[in-house]
């Protein structure tokens, strides 16, 4: 997949080593607030963005790009790219499962994600047990495993979904039992192990309060919720927070238009993940466009697939926006990525061109 470590993006005249300073001049960039900014240059060096400015101080090879340059999208929680079901098989809520162990770097999903402008994913275990295991953050392309795996173990994923707490093969049979087990395993592991912000998959207000209760015993109360199921029933509990939500499927979203509107109004911000959501490859972008229409706020919708997932993962200093210090994971689009008629032109990961769209067919 990685044919070359050279910059072949847009109309770059010649190959050049990635460690050199390159000044990319696209027609426009997508700023963190989702708006288009024209006349901006993005300077990349050693696989990172070093400067974003109209007239950068840095000197280097200038490359004119025809299109809109945006940060690569980030999938907040997914099962894509893993070679097996990431299922916790033990009966007790033990933290045996590391998503990174199930990583399949040759999975066809990577190419599919790349072609749709996704550059980073957070692979989580299946929510089949109350303490599902640890996630892993992976770059969609790169030369080696070391380059690809950005975070071996991201954070623990606890699940208070009804399906996780009532599975009688493994795990307890009620929410109360699930909470007890979770508390036991946390006590056993030491609450410190959860310090780096645990994630809770919840689907009702019972799960939300249980998550809050469990985390109240931790020294740091930093935890994130991923809202599954019918958010209309309990979404109020997430007012003002940054929450994960599964990508929108075709069905049932219409009834929730009002729910998403109200949640946005209550200051809730969103990060999309494809696990438990639509099975489509392009679901991340489609969901962002749909959210934009639902809440009438394109900026917040764009954040849900770029900077917000990065924040959820505590990696907003590395991925999710066009800022100095970030990884040079960039996607060149033919128009704003939330314009449905825009297509991916090329993708850079760590400053290297890893994908170029085939030339459009000659339609006479």
């Amino acid at each position: 997949m990685l044919l070359t470590a050279t910059l072949l993006l847009g109309c770059a005249p010649a190959a050049m080593p990635a460690q050199q300073t390159t000044i990319l001049r696209p027609d426009a960039i997508v700023a963190e607030d989702g708006s288009l900014q024209e006349g901006m240059a993005v300077v990349i060096k050693d696989g990172k963005i070093v400067e974003v400015a109209a007239s950068p101080k840095a000197t280097g090879t200038e490359v004119q790009l025809s299109g809109v340059l945006a940060p690569g999208m980030v999938d907040s929680f997914t099962g894509r790219g893993a070679d097996r079901f990431l299922t916790e098989q033990s009966e007790a809520a033990t933290p045996d499962l590391l998503a990174v162990d199930g990583l399949d770097l040759d999975h066809p999903a990577w190419q599919a994600m790349l072609e749709r402008g996704v550059t980073t994913v957070h692979i989580t275990p299946d929510p089949t047990n109350v303490l599902s295991g640890w996630g892993t953050v992976v770059s969609v392309a790169g030369d080696s495993r070391k380059e690809r795996v950005l975070k071996q173990t991201s954070l623990p994923i606890a699940s208070l979904l009804q399906s996780s707490v009532s599975d009688n093969r493994i795990g307890p049979t009620s929410m109360a039992g699930a909470i007890e087990r979770l508390n036991q395993s946390i006590a056993k592991l030491g609450i410190e192990s959860l310090d780096n912000s645990a994630w809770f998959f919840v689907e009702n207000s019972e799960g939300v309060s249980a998550a809050k209760e469990i985390m109240s015993t931790a020294k740091t109360h930093q935890f994130r919720m991923v809202l599954w199921g019918d958010v209309a029933d309990y979404g109020g509990a997430a007012a003002g927070q940054l929450v994960g939500i599964p990508t929108f499927g075709n069905g049932a979203v219409a009834r929730n238009v009002e729910t998403w509107k109200r949640m946005a109004k209550a200051g809730t911000s969103f990060a999309f993940g494809s696990r438990g959501g639509s099975g489509e490859w392009s679901s991340l972008r489609i969901s962002a466009m749909t959210l934009s229409r639902f809440i009438g706020n394109p900026g917040a919708a764009w954040a849900a697939v770029s900077s917000n997932p990065a924040k959820m993962l505590g990696m907003d200093d590395q991925i999710g926006s066009l800022k100095a210090g970030q990884r040079a994971d960039l996607v060149l689009w033919s128009a704003h990525p939330l314009d449905a008629s825009a297509a991916v032109q090329s993708v850079l990961i760590g400053g290297n061109t890893v994908y170029r769209a085939p030339a459009p067919e000659d339609k006479q």
Binding site: I286, M289, L338
Partner: protein, 450 residues
């Protein structure tokens, strides 16, 4: 003779006459621009709306000053908005259904969606109203309410527009629908295969022929009756004579008696062919009164549908049309339109050659009328523009994609009042601020007439 048959038709819905949608106000909208019709884009745009309909569209303010009886001068109110106005979407295939209606597996079904539509009472059908609101928010101005979802075979759907109270209101005659493809398969151990559709048409035609036989029989009966009456007269005479003679010869021997005359047989009155509401619908379709929609996907089914259209001269549209692109030329020659569903992952089709973008382009380039529809999945209204925009991203012509969401479905549904911003068309419009209605990086609103 045909006229006699036609007069037997039963109107299955009574609301074909224009109804009041409840819009009443008159005003002028000033926007940055307008997509008036295919290829007609103006900047800026002034659109006069009255009672929910467009009165005029111009790039200059055409308002005229009026003087009231009291000498006060006034003009129509002007509403200034940001963005570009465009006609509201026409969704040629939804499964929006009244709560009181459900699809029917009966192949003789005459159930009409329009008969179950709520009257002009708010809150009568909350589920339906919420679907209309969602559709409205997505910029949809008119829909086709299909008679079935999964596992249905036949029904009468209807095109519908939305009233001020957000209720769907049937427009035009009902539409005769059949499902022969995947739509018919859901959960059924038998499907309404194309054979049966052909059979109902052929039966209806045959029934019509049986009226010819009936007429012949009637003529014959009239002649026979004349003959019978003559014979009857003769008989009466003879009988009279016989009786008189018999009386005179009362004492005569039995053996001398004359043979008694026999009464003639009265001819049988011929039976009228039996009518049926189900057949009347088919006959209505054959007479061009009702549009026919057939949900079909396979090449075999579509071929036979083309033949059916030709044989009976039907006004026919194919819904689904999974393989329609393979028969683009035949469809164009037969003037059959196709409604394609906007669903699935466009870029991850198992075979890229069969992706929606490819199929759409093949049909459109082949001269076939193609509408893109939400195909009913609840919530897909909100995704219609996104999905359609993806076709543009995949290389389809932007204007043709837009037409397939507006003017083409309006034409295929016979919705004369939709699809463009010309005089007399619906003022339910979309107002987009981005580069096109497909651009979700900028706000888009739906304009509901006041």
């Amino acid at each position: 003779m045909l006229a006699a048959v036609c007069s037997l038709f039963i109107l299955f819905s009574s609301h074909v006459q224009a109804q009041d949608s409840g819009y009443s106000r008159t005003y002028v909208i000033q926007a940055d621009g307008a997509w008036v019709a295919p290829g007609v884009h103006i900047t800026p745009a002034f659109v006069k709306v009255s009672a929910g309909e467009i009165v005029w569209v111009s790039s200059t303010d055409q308002r005229q000053e009026r003087t009231s009886l009291l000498g006060k001068k006034s003009k129509d109110p002007l509403i200034k908005v940001k963005g570009t106005l465009a006609p509201g979407l026409v969704d040629a295939w939804t499964t929006m259904m009244p709560t009181g209606y459900s699809g029917d597996r009966n192949t003789r079904s005459t159930r009409a969606v329009s008969d179950s539509l709520p009257m002009q009472v708010a809150n009568e059908d909350e589920s339906l109203v919420s679907q209309v609101l969602a559709a409205r928010q997505a910029g949809v101005a008119a829909v086709f309410m299909s008679a079935g979802r999964n596992g249905w075979q036949r029904g009468v759907g209807t095109a519908a527009e939305f009233t001020k109270l957000d209720l769907p209101q049937a427009v035009g005659e009902g539409v005769l629908e059949f499902a022969v493809g995947a739509q018919a398969n859901g959960g059924l151990d038998r499907t309404y295969i194309i054979d049966e559709v052909e059979a109902v048409f052929s039966e209806a035609n045959g029934w019509r022929d049986s009226w010819d036989d009936f007429d012949e029989a009637k003529e014959k009966y009239a002649k026979d009756l004349e003959k019978y009456e003559e014979k009857l007269k003769e008989y009466i005479e003879e009988k009279k004579k016989f009786d008189e003679e018999a009386e005179k010869a009362g004492a005569q021997k039995e053996g001398d008696k004359k043979k008694e005359p026999k009464a003639p047989k009265r001819p049988k009155v011929p039976m009228e062919p039996q009518t049926s509401a189900a057949r009347d619908l088919i006959l209505g379709a054959i007479d061009g009164k009702y549009l026919v929609r057939v949900h079909a996907d396979s090449v075999g089914d579509i071929r036979r549908i083309i033949a059916l259209k030709k044989e009976y001269g039907l006004d026919l549209v194919i819904i689904g049309g999974g393989s329609a692109d393979l028969l683009a030329d035949d469809l164009r020659k037969a003037s059959i339109g196709v409604v394609l569903p906007l669903g699935g992952d466009l870029h991850a089709a198992p075979n890229a050659e069969r992706s929606l973008a490819k199929r759409f382009s093949t049909l459109v380039d082949g001269g076939v009328d193609v509408a893109l529809a939400s195909s009913g999945a609840e919530g897909l209204h909100m995704l219609m523009l996104t999905r359609a925009g993806e076709l543009v991203a995949a290389g389809c012509d932007k204007n043709k994609v837009w037409d397939s969401l507006t003017i083409v479905p309006a034409r295929l549904l016979g919705l004369d009042g939709y699809g463009s911003l010309h005089r007399g068309k619906s003022a339910t419009m979309v107002l987009f601020e981005g580069t096109s209605p497909f651009d979700a990086s900028a706000p888009m609103k739906a304009h509901k007439p006041k």
